[in-house]
């Protein structure tokens, strides 16, 4: 069974204080690893897809990296508007459909 574990559960940062979020995963065959951002009262919003170990993707202050067992989401010089829950999910190439298996998320709070 696919498993996704995210750490830490919560992260408090000062504005400008860079940090990293971890996503460890177990999957039969990785079709893709996804990062989403979720704001309170809203649905998850897509950030990145990573397909193979060694791949990196960047968007503004966010950078996602992937190894064979984990992914990191690096937040560089965060701003208060980066406060959200960040969700990691995997798609298993051996599973039916394109279902995503999610981790529990990391709640990030960036204080000015």
């Amino acid at each position: 069974e696919d498993q996704v574990t995210q750490s830490p559960e919560a992260l408090r940062l000062q504005e400008g204080e860079s940090s990293s979020l971890n996503c460890s995963y177990t999957v039969s065959g990785l079709r893709g690893l996804f990062w989403y951002r979720q704001d309170p009262g809203k649905g998850p919003e897509f950030l990145f897809t990573l397909y193979s170990a060694g791949e990196e993707k960047e968007k503004e202050r966010l950078k996602a990296t992937l190894t064979k067992k984990e992914s990191f989401l690096h937040i560089t010089a965060p701003k208060p508007e980066d406060s959200a829950t960040y969700l990691c999910a995997v798609q298993d190439s051996k599973a039916a459909g394109n279902k995503l298996t999610f981790g529990g998320g990391t709640r990030v709070l960036v204080k000015p």
Binding site: P44, E45, Y51, L87, A96, K99
Partner: protein, 114 residues
């Protein structure tokens, strides 16, 4: 123009009632999903339809019945609601494909069973 829209946003009801949540996507996607997010914020797949055909049916009580009248709509009907059904339900859609297709999510329906 909202890509994946679901109604209602909030649903408060009594135990034992039957309720429905509606979802529509205007992205032209082939596949639609229902996810449940519990109080600990874990998102879990419930169902998936591809072109009106059920392709994923996780271990969900049979009080939950999805219905897809066409590939742009996926509704969720829940019979005999229980306290444990209280959660946020998200509809999502994606293009069918072999290479990690991303899902687009609606804004959720917060169901409270009293």
């Amino acid at each position: 123009d909202t890509a994946v829209s679901q109604t209602p946003k909030y649903l408060v009801t009594q135990m034992g009632n039957d309720k429905s949540i509606k979802c529509e996507q205007n992205l032209g996607h082939d596949t639609m999903y229902w996810y449940k997010q519990d109080s600990k914020k874990f998102l879990k797949i419930m169902f998936s339809y591809n072109n009106k055909e059920l392709i994923i049916n996780e271990t969900v009580p049979n009080r939950f019945s999805p219905k897809s009248p066409d590939k742009a709509h996926l509704n969720l009907h829940i019979n005999s609601l229980e306290l444990g059904d209280s959660a946020v339900y998200f509809c999502a859609s994606s293009q069918a494909g072999h290479r990690g297709e991303k899902l687009f999510f609606g804004s959720g329906t917060q169901l409270s069973v009293l």
